[in-house]
Each structure stands twice: as structure tokens, then as C-alpha cells.
């Protein structure tokens, strides 16, 4: 007997699917379509009299050296902050998983950072990393001019990377710890009885078993570092100095909302969307092969 629910007529099936399709259309495809339409026109902010310009917006963006600098800055930011956030989280999760004294406390404390909103944590890090007033002021006392995010682009980039990674360490930590604790104790204990050391056990048993989690977090971290960073940039550096931290998503925000250039911002967000799609395809195509799901 057929167990699946079937409909006598296909139209009834469609009818049941309509609410779902409508939701997807309203919340995903309609805004995306709107962005595509805007990117092909010149929008007057107050509405009325929009001019069709075809691909002109894309041409002018791609001919702009500042835009290419912002792509480079975004890639550097995404690469380093993802790497930092994942490695630190993995180390902390491994230590917590070994049930050292107080590991339950660490578990709670390490999850907190992810709960803090980006602007709040950016304010905190702006103070901590301020060259004249915060923690780094002490370092500057010893080596004058060592730390100057106000004029040194590399220092400014370092400060937004530190703030962003700090937040995602908490997020990654939860997933890593859950993955590590899902590994049967007996496997690790058996290896220990065979005389393998901590690092060996990690390399040959734990690491391969958590590769699905690592892959998942890699995709999420890279995507988020492209999209979720503008609050931190806005408060800590406002894209400066001299565009050093003008990440793609921040440029979209400042051109669109502060500069009222809706069309240029729409075209940039299409490019950003394409870039994220390409990166995600790349990850699934080449990195997922190394993942062991069973």
C-alpha cells in the first residue's frame, strides 16, 4: 500500500504549497529582485523619475580602484578573522572537553561573547584598543607610536579583526564542544590505553570525527565575516583610516544609507551576493570532499 500522502489532483498540492511559496517569495526573492532592479537604474532617493541605465552601475563600480581595495580588505578580514575565531575556539573546546577542573564554568563563560551585540562589543573594544586611553595606551608608553589605528591601516584592520573574532570564538566554541562531546568516550580512552598522547589522539581520532562541524563553521564564519561586520567597523574605525577597513559590506552601508546612493549600493550588494555564492560553492566543491560524515 502507498504510504505517502498523495493528492488526486495536482492543483490541490499546489494549493497547499502556496503559503510556503508565498513566504519564500515575499521574504527572499522579492527583495532580491528589487535589489537587482535598483542596481540597473539610477534611483532618486525620494522616489519619482528613476532612470534605466542597464549595467552602468556595475561598470562604474568595477572601474573604481577604491572598490577593488575594499574587496581585498574584505578577503583579508574574512580569512584572518575566520582562522583566528576557529582555531582559538577549537583549542578552548578541546581543553574544556578534557574536563579539567572548572570546565563547566568555562563552558558557560565562553558562550557569553556571542550573546553581545556587535555595536556594544565594538564600543568595548574601541576603549580597550584606544592608543591613548585604553589597554594599548600602556603598551604605547613603553614603545611610543607602536599602536596607532587612527593613522595606521594595518593596526585598524587588526583591531576590527580582533573584535569580530572575539565574538565568533563564543559561537564556534558551542559547536566544537558539542561535536567533541558527541565522540564516544571509549574511542579516546582506548587510544589513551594504547599509549597515544594528547596531540596524537586529537589528530587521529577527534579531528577527523569533527570535520563535518569544522566544515559547517567554516562556511558560516566566512559568510558572516562578509555580512555581519559592518556594525563593528562603523563604531571602531568608520572604514578608515584612508579606507583601510572599508569592507564591502560597510561600503554598501555607507554609500546606501549615509550617501543616499541606493543604486550604487544595490549593485554592490549584488556583487557581494555573487562573491559569497561563489565562495560557498567553492567550499562545497573542494573542501567538503575531505569531510567524513560517517
Amino acid at each position: 500500500m502507498e504510504k505517502r500522502v498523495t493528492f488526486s489532483r495536482w492543483s490541490i498540492g499546489i494549493l497547499f504549497a502556496v503559503p510556503q511559496l508565498l513566504l519564500i517569495f515575499t521574504f527572499f526573492y522579492w527583495p532580491a529582485g528589487q535589489a537587482v532592479y535598483w542596481s540597473l537604474t539610477l534611483q532618486q532617493p525620494w522616489g519619482g523619475g528613476n532612470i534605466w541605465v542597464g549595467l552602468d552601475n556595475f561598470r562604474s563600480i568595477l572601474a573604481n580602484t577604491d572598490y577593488w581595495n575594499s574587496i581585498t580588505a574584505s578577503l583579508i578580514f574574512a580569512g584572518i578573522s575566520t582562522g583566528l575565531a576557529m582555531v582559538i575556539a577549537l583549542v578552548l573546546a578541546t581543553l574544556t572537553d578534557r574536563q579539567l577542573a572548572g570546565s563547566r564554568l568555562y563552558r558557560v563563560v565562553l558562550i557569553w561573547p556571542y550573546g553581545i551585540a556587535a555595536p556594544a562589543l565594538a564600543m568595548a573594544f574601541r576603549f580597550i584598543l584606544a592608543p591613548e586611553a585604553g589597554f594599548m595606551a600602556a603598551v604605547n608608553k613603553v614603545w611610543p607610536g607602536f599602536w596607532d589605528p587612527g593613522l595606521n591601516g594595518a593596526d585598524a584592520m587588526a583591531s576590527v579583526i580582533i573584535a569580530f573574532s572575539w565574538k565568533y570564538v563564543g559561537y564556534n566554541f558551542i559547536f566544537f564542544l558539542a561535536a567533541l562531546q558527541a565522540i564516544p568516550r571509549s574511542l579516546v580512552e582506548a587510544a589513551a590505553m594504547d599509549g597515544s598522547g594528547v596531540l596524537r589522539r586529537f589528530r587521529d581520532i577527534q579531528f577527523p570525527l569533527i570535520t563535518p562541524t569544522i566544515f559547517f563553521l567554516l562556511v558560516i564564519n566566512i559568510t558572516e565575516s562578509f555580512q555581519d561586520s559592518f556594525g563593528i567597523v562603523d563604531i571602531m574605525t568608520a572604514g578608515g583610516p584612508a579606507n583601510a577597513t572599508n569592507l564591502m559590506v560597510y561600503k554598501i552601508y555607507s554609500d546606501g544609507f549615509k550617501g543616499l546612493d541606493y543604486s550604487g549600493a544595490a549593485a554592490q550588494s549584488i556583487i557581494l551576493m555573487l562573491l559569497i555564492i561563489v565562495l560557498t560553492i567553492f567550499q562545497f566543491r573542494f573542501i567538503e570532499r575531505r569531510v567524513h560524515y560517517k
Binding site: W46, I51, A130, E132, G259
Partner: protein
């Protein structure tokens, strides 16, 4: 259970009572006013609204802060596109060109005339009025909170180098900074070089020296204006600032570095800053105990005939698409704000200056400028009225000026970080700024400035 029931019944009765009571009391016509000030200043605006509402019973202004100027403009545009715009909105100076081309406003002078209010427009200080007027002189919006840039100087520090006056020329500034440094002051002068300081460093400087920012009389004569400050005295000025910075005579102070200019001056760390007269109150309230300081007009280069400085701040726009009753309310509100008594209230509680001669005279007659915390603010009026506005000093009318200011910050940072030379940096500022203007002109291809 019965308590809840009783509560509900009471609520229902209350609601019924309200609906019944309304027609009898002839409820005032409500209209929305959105503004961009926050914190201390927002509380003053709230009081202003309360005073207006208490002054008559026909209208009620519902005043809502949108946080800051940028957000106010963004939210208003979003609301306008959704047909839910406020009746009156505060828009900052650099948004004026965008507003004029929006087609979304109800001209303020027309509104006042149609509702029977006689406003004497020659009463406004010309430097303030012309910033917000069309090239034909029609007032599309009314100036509200106005300011201009001044030089704040520490009298104690200057006394140490034998000076009893603020420097009047940039040549003097150079000598004084050196003397202050030699007298042991670590930070003779503080500046900031983000996009916002384009106002003091580029715009005010250019106006006082009668140097253009852009062609077409700073954009007043058409959307085809293009930047040209890479060919003016501005280049020499940036060169001097950079030279003094390299010599340790100027320090960069900003919030992200730990201390902004105003704090650095008020705490006695830095001896000279250029900032808005709007900060006069803040310095007075937060200054180091017993520190003696004063304000002066911004310096000029030797041999320059000083012109009026530019107004900063914001004006009030009335938006289109509202009912005649709401417009009546808006007209009454604008008339209330224009009143000299309101000017006195406003200037006492903020650092802003009166926008009309009548307000200024009224305040002078009340002895406002003789008293300690407000003494010195009349320098702002002197600076704004130093000359009749010229074609160049009446204001700046450039599209997407916010983006040009951001570009100013970017290039100044590149110059101060030694990435490019002074001339290269300003050339790039002009090139990128022109691209922004070009884009604005294309967007409004079918429109011209009123």
C-alpha cells in the same frame, strides 16, 4: 478572575469616556515633528515642544528624535516613500541640495503666507538665510539650530608665552604653536581629520578666505558644478597643518583614539582647537577647574580680507502630502520658533546662536552675552556677519555632499599617514568627489536647482 474582569471593564469604560470626551474638548490637531538631535539637546527640543503645545490649544506637535541627522533623513525618506512622512522635519545643512531636488516639500515661505503669518525674511542673518534659500532668495525651509566654527584658546597657556590675545593669522598660529611647545606644552593644538571636520578645515576656511570649493559658485548655479579646492589656498593650508603635525605641534584627537578634541581642550591637554560654537556650553560644563579660556574667530592668512564664515546646523522643512489642518499647525509652530523669546530659550539651553537679528538684539538687551557662561558666544555672530555674503560665501550647494565629506576624511588620513603628498591627496579628493557629483547629476538628469 473577577479582578481581571473588573480591570477590563474599567479600561473599557475609560476608553469609552475618552471617545465621548473628545468632541466636547475639540481635540487639538496633531502633527509630527522629527528631529536629529539626541541626549541633552533632544531634551531641550522636547521642552520647546511642550512650551509650544502649552502656548495654544489648537495644535499639538508630536516631537520625536530620530537619533542623528543621517538617520533622520534616512527615516524620513523611507516614511515618505511609504506615505507616512512627518509634517515637519529637521534636515542638516549638507542635505539641503538633496531636499531641494526631492520635490517632497511644501515651501516654508508659501506656507506662512497662505496661513496669514507675516515673516520679515530680512530679519534673518544673511549668511544663515542664504544657505537655505533658493538662488532667487525664496526660503524653502526655516533655519533652526545654527552655529559656526570658532577657535577656542587657553588663556593660561598663552599667558605663559606672553600673549593676551588669540592668534589672528595663520602665520601667528605657527609661531604661537612653536612657542607653546617650547614652553613645555605637549599638545599645542588638536585637530581631527575625519569626514565631519571637513566643515571646519575645508568649508569654513574656504569661505573666510573667499576661496571656492566648487565651480558654478559652489554649486548654486547648477548641478554641473565640479570641485576645485586643489587649486586654491586650501592646498597651502593643508600643507601647513601637515608640517605642524610632523613637527609635533598638532596632535590628532578623536573619540576612537581615546579622547576627542573638545575633551582634550576642556581638560587642558591641548591649548587650541577649532570647533562649533555649539560646543561652548560643553567646554564650560566640563572644563578643568579654574582654567581660563576664550573663543575667537578662525584665523586667516596674512593679507586676506576676511569674509563671513558659513552657518552649520540644520533647518526645518515642511513636507508635502499633509492635510490643510496639519499645515496650519506647522505654520503656527514655525512662527513660534521664529519668536525672539524662543530664540533666547533655545540659545540659553544649547550652544546654538539666534538665527535672526531680532532674536540677537532681544538677547543682547536681556544681557545674555554679558554673563559668564555665555560670554564669548557673540563672536559667532561677528564671524557669520563679518561681510555681506559673496557668491561663494553664501553656502555650498552640492549633491551627496555627505559622501564628499567622507572622501575628505579618507584623503586627509592618507596625507597625514604619508601615503600621498598634500597635492596628490587633494587631487584625488577632487577626482573622486567629481565622480560623486557626476553621479548625482545623472540621477537628477531631468531636474534643476530652484
Amino acid at each position: 478572575m473577577s479582578i481581571i474582569k473588573q480591570g477590563l471593564a474599567a479600561l473599557a469604560a475609560g476608553a469609552l469616556g475618552l471617545t465621548l470626551a473628545q468632541p466636547a474638548a475639540a481635540a487639538p490637531v496633531k502633527f509630527d515633528f522629527w528631529f536629529g538631535l539626541s541626549g541633552d539637546l533632544a531634551r531641550v527640543v522636547d521642552t520647546l515642544c511642550k512650551n509650544f503645545n502649552a502656548s495654544q490649544s489648537d495644535y499639538e506637535a508630536v516631537c520625536t528624535s530620530q537619533g542623528n541627522y543621517d538617520a533622520t533623513l534616512q527615516n524620513t525618506i523611507a516614511a515618505f516613500r511609504a506615505g507616512k512622512q512627518p509634517t515637519v522635519v529637521q534636515v542638516y545643512d549638507v542635505g539641503t541640495a538633496t531636499m531641494m531636488l526631492s520635490g517632497a516639500y511644501y515651501p516654508a515661505d508659501k506656507l506662512m503666507e497662505e496661513n496669514g503669518y507675516k515673516i520679515d525674511y530680512s530679519d534673518y542673518f544673511p549668511g544663515i538665510a542664504r544657505y537655505y534659500a533658493t538662488s532667487k532668495g525664496e526660503m524653502l525651509s526655516f533655519p533652526f539650530n545654527s552655529s559656526t566654527a570658532l577657535m577656542y584658546w587657553n588663556k593660561d597657556a598663552f599667558a605663559k608665552i606672553g600673549k593676551t590675545e588669540a592668534p589672528k593669522t595663520w602665520e601667528d598660529v605657527g609661531a604661537d604653536l612653536k612657542a607653546l611647545k617650547d614652553a613645555g606644552y605637549d599638545c599645542p593644538m588638536a585637530i581631527n581629520i575625519s569626514g565631519n571636520e571637513s566643515w571646519q578645515l575645508m568649508e569654513q576656511f574656504s569661505a573666510i578666505h573667499n576661496q571656492p570649493i566648487a565651480t558654478e559658485n559652489n554649486g548654486y548655479d547648477g548641478l554641473n558644478a565640479r570641485l576645485e579646492m586643489n587649486k586654491t589656498k586650501f592646498v597651502q593650508y593643508v600643507g601647513d597643518l601637515k608640517k605642524w603635525y610632523d613637527a609635533g605641534l598638532i596632535k590628532i584627537k578623536s573619540k576612537d583614539l581615546g579622547q576627542d578634541m573638545v575633551q582634550a581642550f576642556a581638560s587642558g591637554t591641548c591649548q587650541l582647537i577649532m570647533t562649533s560654537v555649539g560646543d561652548h556650553g560643553t567646554v564650560g560644563k566640563t572644563q578643568k577647574e579654574g582654567m581660563s579660556w576664550d573663543v575667537a574667530e578662525l584665523p586667516v592668512y596674512a593679507g586676506t580680507e576676511r569674509k563671513n564664515s558659513l552657518v552649520g546646523g540644520a533647518s526645518l522643512w515642511v513636507l508635502s502630502g499633509k492635510s490643510p489642518e496639519e499645515y496650519k499647525g506647522a505654520a503656527a509652530f514655525l512662527n513660534f520658533i521664529h519668536d525672539p523669546k524662543t530664540a533666547l530659550f533655545w540659545s540659553t539651553n544649547t550652544g546654538y546662536i539666534p538665527v535672526a537679528k531680532s532674536g540677537f538684539e532681544y538677547m543682547k538687551a536681556n544681557g545674555f552675552y554679558d554673563k559668564a557662561p555665555y560670554k564669548g558666544r557673540e563672536v559667532a555672530i561677528a564671524s557669520l556677519t563679518a561681510s555681506e555674503p559673496t557668491e561663494i560665501t553664501r553656502g555650498i550647494r552640492l549633491g551627496n555632499f555627505t559622501q564628499i565629506r567622507a572622501e575628505f576624511g579618507t584623503q586627509m588620513q592618507a596625507i597625514f599617514a604619508n601615503k600621498v603628498s598634500v597635492q596628490e591627496g587633494i587631487d584625488t579628493l577632487v577626482k573622486n568627489g567629481d565622480a560623486i557629483l557626476d553621479r548625482f547629476q545623472q540621477t537628477y538628469a531631468n531636474k534643476t536647482l530652484p
